[in-house]
Every structure is written in structure tokens, then in C-alpha cells.
């Protein structure tokens, strides 16, 4: 181990040591960035109905949810009551894999769903049977391409969504480790359900303040933003001046410093 370090240390004053370190650092930065900016794949869930859905849903609830949400979904110290949240909330939280939570951290993260479409529908039916609430959204009813208006959606998005989800819907930070997730690659059904149920930190956007037609416009705008080609080259995550500055200061200045060092060095 020590001999290895000694070997390395022998080269630390080599004339290529500084440029090599710079190249390694830049490649590391680039790789981290490209891995971090990969969007999670979209998923599509078909919902089927069953006669004994509610009974089945209760069985799953008691097994998988009741330890936190209570035997009767009344909530507890670590989890909210689910009475009246409606099928839409269950469909969103379970369908996107946020529930059941993997750990009690700041925020439930989007991940591979634990329950399949049938089980999710059963859970949703059970929770909806406790008290009325928003119904799960039928994806075929969301004909946003036909009914939405991209320009109106953009205005609504900038007024109501952009402060948390970023002006290009890339997501952003909230307080104490919480964050607004990116909306890229999110199923339109889940975007709609999030707006009517207000999951976790997100507030609700009532149908009276943002009408169902306006919600479709918002979805259409998000989808348009997602398919927008990046004509200006690397989009750098579309999060604005932060990544641009980071890259300019590390890559740009690093390159200039490298050239300056080379300029001033004595040729052999």
C-alpha cells in the first residue's frame, strides 16, 4: 500500500502531473453530471376492476400500510390519516412507488412500485371506501394533446408550479433536504393526480382555481418542454446559471490556467 503511494508520489512533480489531474477531475465531474441527469423511465399502469377489490385492498393495507397509517387508516405519529384522501392520492403514492416508504427520511422518493396495478387499484378502492375523496384519474380521459393549450399551460406553470419545480420543470430544492422532483418523464395521470391531491410538501391546486382544462394545458406544456430539443448544445440540466457557472469556472478556468502554466514553463 505504502509502496504504491510512494510510486505515485514520485510522479507528483512530473510535468504532466497537473494536466493529468485536471483531466481526471473534469472527467469525474462530467460523469457525475451525466449519471445524475438521467431521467427515470416512465411507466404505464393499466387499471382493472375486481368485485372483491375493497376486501382485497383492506388485506393489503393491513399487511403493508397499517404499521404507520394505523389499523383503520386513522394515521399516527409518523404518518397522516388516510381518511378522505381519496383513491387519487393512493394511486399516485403507491403507483409511483413513493408508498410504502423505503425509509423514514425527509421525503418519500419515486421508485419502482411495490404493488402492481391490480393491488394498487384494490388499495385505492379500500381507502376511497373510508370517506369520499378525489377519484383516481383514468389516463384515457386525459386527452391533453387535443384539449390542452401549450401557451396557456406555460403561463399557468410559471405562475403556479415553476417556483418549486423549476422554470423548465426540472425540479428544485426545498427546505431541510426536501425537494420538488423533476417532472420529466412523469406519466400525465400522476401529474394530474399530484395537482388535485397535493402529495407531501406540494399544496393542492383545486379545480376551481386551476380548472381541469387548465390542468390539461399545464400537462401539455410539460410534455412540450420535455420534447423540446436543446438547440444551443448541452442543456446542462436546464437548471439555469448554476451548472453553467460551475462548468465555466471549473472547465473554462481550468483550461485557461493549464494554458497559462504551459505558456510560462521553460521548454526543454
Amino acid at each position: 500500500m505504502t509502496s504504491g503511494i510512494k510510486k505515485l508520489s514520485r510522479y507528483r512533480r512530473h510535468r504532466w502531473a497537473a494536466p493529468a489531474l485536471l483531466v481526471v477531475a473534469l472527467i469525474g465531474l462530467g460523469t457525475t453530471f451525466s449519471v445524475a441527469s438521467e431521467a427515470p423511465a416512465a411507466q404505464n399502469v393499466a387499471v382493472t376492476q375486481q368485485s372483491s377489490q375493497i376486501t382485497e385492498g383492506k388485506r393489503i393495507f393491513l399487511q403493508g400500510c397499517s404499521s404507520c397509517h394505523g389499523l383503520n387508516a386513522e394515521g399516527g405519529a409518523i404518518a397522516p390519516s388516510l381518511i378522505g384522501v381519496g383513491a387519487a392520492a393512493v394511486d399516485f403514492q403507491v403507483g409511483t412507488g413513493r408508498m410504502p416508504m423505503a425509509d423514514m427520511s425527509q421525503q418519500a422518493m419515486r421508485k419502482k412500485p411495490v404493488y402492481d396495478a391490480v393491488q394498487t387499484a384494490a388499495l385505492a378502492a379500500y381507502v376511497a371506501s373510508l370517506a369520499p375523496g378525489p377519484q383516481a384519474v383514468d389516463p384515457t380521459s386525459l386527452n391533453y394533446e387535443r384539449d390542452g393549450n401549450t401557451a396557456q399551460g406555460g403561463t399557468l406553470f410559471r405562475n403556479n408550479c415553476a417556483m418549486c419545480h423549476n422554470f423548465a420543470a426540472q425540479g428544485g430544492a426545498l427546505t431541510l433536504g426536501k425537494y420538488a422532483p423533476t417532472l420529466m418523464g412523469v406519466d400525465p395521470k400522476y401529474i394530474y393526480e399530484a395537482m388535485i391531491t397535493g402529495p407531501q410538501s406540494m399544496p393542492k391546486f383545486s379545480d376551481k382555481t386551476i380548472s381541469p382544462a387548465e390542468k390539461l394545458s399545464i400537462i401539455k406544456w410539460i410534455k412540450a418542454a420535455q420534447s423540446e430539443p436543446s438547440l444551443g448544445g448541452a442543456s446542462l440540466g436546464r437548471v439555469g446559471p448554476v451548472t453553467e457557472g460551475l462548468l465555466a469556472w471549473t472547465l473554462g478556468l481550468g483550461l485557461l490556467i493549464g494554458i497559462a502554466v504551459w505558456l510560462a514553463s521553460k521548454a526543454r
Binding site: T155, M163, C164, T175, P203, F205, S206, T209, G233, A267
Partner: protein
């Protein structure tokens, strides 16, 4: 003691070491080749630029690892020009470093003061030419020139006037008055309390009198965030509680720190976060600052409902909204 201090002799300048290429003809040849390679790379860069312009379709996108989907033509043009310019520079530097003469020359600074003869000659020339131009005789030119130069000198005064006038009451007032309806931004629809569920928010503006145009300046002052929570969650004094309506509370969206739009509302913690400097306001305690650089809570707008059941302002803001300014009274 002082004599014990070791004294170093001034080592002077290091000996001038000649480069390999200075005395080895083969090394010089190799260096020449290196420089030529750099210049040829530059030429290839220009060819890449021209080729991309003529032979790559402007609609072609290619996938690159870090860049993502990139327009191939733009990439070729940019990279080509970049390579062309960079490698001319690199080649020139390499040339200078390895092949151009590297003799060291010491250039002494000359005295700043001109020699006496030069100074006298200058004064004589100025005097002679001024007389020849006839400034003393041609008084019309002299006066009109004075007028022109003098007026040019005045022009900054006119332009600097735009720094004023003082804002007077503009920063202290908004379009919110007693009875002004809250309308949704951007749809402009008025809003009833029952339109907002518990946990919901709405971005609202004051309804302006018919025929009044809403300017960006208006929105910058008037923007209000409407939040509905459970009334029992409020932790307000009696006056501020009377400014809410059935759990609906309204705050100016303009941050009291630097004027950013504070609208990152976390409905579980009831915290409002400003995206610019992370000032955090507690909605249940009249937007009290619980974190960050803001010095004052967000101004609260007193709201109630009118006879038709629409939400209206009970009164205008009782304090200036937004960040501090010189003339601010409180």
C-alpha cells in the same frame, strides 16, 4: 546573537539553459514538425466548420455522452471554429517556446522626463500653430466653439435627471384597497372561499378597475399568495386572526429581503420558502421569519368576503410590501 544568523549569498539569476533544439539539429526538426502538426490540426478544424455548414443537415441531432442530444451542424461549426482558433494559438506558442531565439535581453527603463530640448520645441510648436490658426482674430469661431463645447458638457446633467425623481409614495402603495376583489393569476377569475380546499394555494392579484391595464410593475407589487389551512392550526393574535377567513390567509408574495417571489409553500410544514436566499416564513405565525436573511415577516393582507361571496381585501396592506428602501417608514 546577531552574528549567529547565517547569511545567504545572493544567488543571482540562474544560468541560462539552452534548449535541446538550440544545439541539436534533429531536435529542432522534431520541434518544427510538432508546430506544423498543430497548425495542420487548426486547418482541419476550419475544414470541419466548412464541411458541417455545407454537408450536415441543420435538423440532424446526434447523441453525445455528456451533452445529450446535440444539433450536429451547430456542434461541427462551433467545434471546428474552436479547434481552428485554438490550434493557431497553440502552434504559435509552441513555435515561440521551442524554436524562436531565446536569448535573454535586459531592457532598462528610460527616464520619464523628456529631454529639455524636446520640451522647448513642443512649446514653440504649439505657440506657432495657435497663432497661425488665427484663434485670436476669428472671434465668431471661438464663440461658437465655446457654445458647442459648453452645451456638450451640459448633456450629462439632462441624462442624469433620469436617476430621479424620488419614488414618493410609489414603493409604499399597492393596488389593494378595501373591497378589492381577489382574482386568480393569470385567468383573472374572482375566487370564493369554497373554491380553495384545505391544503390548497392560489396566486392572486387585485381586480383592477375596468379599463386599467395591468403592468408588470403592478404585478411586482400586488402579487399575493392565498393559502388555506385548518383554522385551528393558526397561531395568531386576535387582530391578525380577524384578517383571515375560514382558514384562508393571504400574504404578499414579494420577499421582505430582496423582493423575490416567495411562493415555495410546503403544505405539510406550513412553511413558505424564498428561492433566492432561503428565507423561510411560518404561515401559521403570520409569516414570521424562522430562517434566512429576511428581517421582517411578509406583509399580511386582510381578507373577507363581499355580499356575493367572493373574497375581497378588507383593507390595503398596512405596511409597504417588499424589501427595505431609504424612505420606508417602518
Amino acid at each position: 546573537m546577531t552574528s549567529d544568523i547565517q547569511k545567504f549569498e545572493d544567488p543571482g539569476l540562474p544560468e541560462h539553459v539552452h534548449r535541446k533544439a538550440d544545439h541539436d539539429e534533429n531536435a529542432a526538426k522534431a520541434a518544427e514538425k510538432k508546430v506544423a502538426i498543430l497548425f495542420v490540426i487548426s486547418a482541419l478544424g476550419t475544414l470541419l466548420l466548412i464541411g458541417s455548414y455545407y454537408f450536415v443537415k441543420s435538423t440532424t441531432f446526434i447523441f453525445l455522452p455528456i451533452m445529450g442530444d446535440t444539433n450536429a451542424q451547430q456542434l461541427g461549426i462551433g467545434a471546428g471554429l474552436g479547434i481552428a482558433l485554438l490550434f493557431i494559438g497553440l502552434g504559435a506558442i509552441q513555435w515561440a517556446r521551442t524554436l524562436m531565439p531565446d536569448t535573454e535581453v535586459v531592457a532598462e527603463r528610460h527616464e520619464f522626463r523628456s529631454e529639455d530640448k524636446d520640451r522647448e520645441d513642443f512649446v514653440a510648436t504649439v505657440k506657432e500653430r495657435a497663432g497661425a490658426a488665427g484663434l485670436g482674430r476669428r472671434s465668431l469661431i471661438k464663440r461658437s466653439l465655446g457654445l458647442a463645447v459648453g452645451l456638450v458638457g451640459l448633456s450629462p446633467l439632462v441624462l442624469l435627471r433620469d436617476l430621479g425623481p424620488l419614488p414618493r409614495k410609489y414603493l409604499s402603495t399597492t393596488d389593494w384597497k378595501s373591497g378589492t376583489r381577489l382574482v386568480l393569476d393569470p385567468s383573472g377569475r374572482p375566487i370564493k372561499p369554497e373554491d380553495l380546499e384545505v391544503g390548497a394555494v392560489a396566486q392572486v392579484l387585485p381586480e383592477l378597475p375596468a379599463g386599467t391595464e395591468r403592468t408588470l410593475e403592478n404585478i411586482g407589487k400586488d402579487a399575493v399568495l392565498l393559502i388555506r389551512i385548518r383554522p385551528e392550526e393558526f397561531n395568531l393574535d386576535a387582530e391578525r386572526l380577524s384578517w383571515t377567513h375560514e382558514g384562508i390567509i393571504a400574504f404578499s408574495k414579494i420577499c421582505s429581503h430582496m423582493g423575490c417571489a416567495v411562493a415555495l409553500y410546503e403544505q405539510q410544514t406550513k412553511h413558505l420558502l424564498c428561492p433566492c436566499h432561503q428565507s423561510t416564513f411560518d404561515v401559521t405565525r403570520a409569516a414570521k421569519v424562522i430562517f434566512g436573511p429576511a428581517a421582517r415577516p411578509l406583509p399580511q393582507l386582510a381578507i373577507t368576503v363581499d355580499s356575493e361571496g367572493y373574497l375581497v381585501a378588507k383593507q390595503g396592506f398596512t405596511e409597504p410590501i417588499g424589501p427595505s428602501f431609504w424612505e420606508r417608514s417602518s
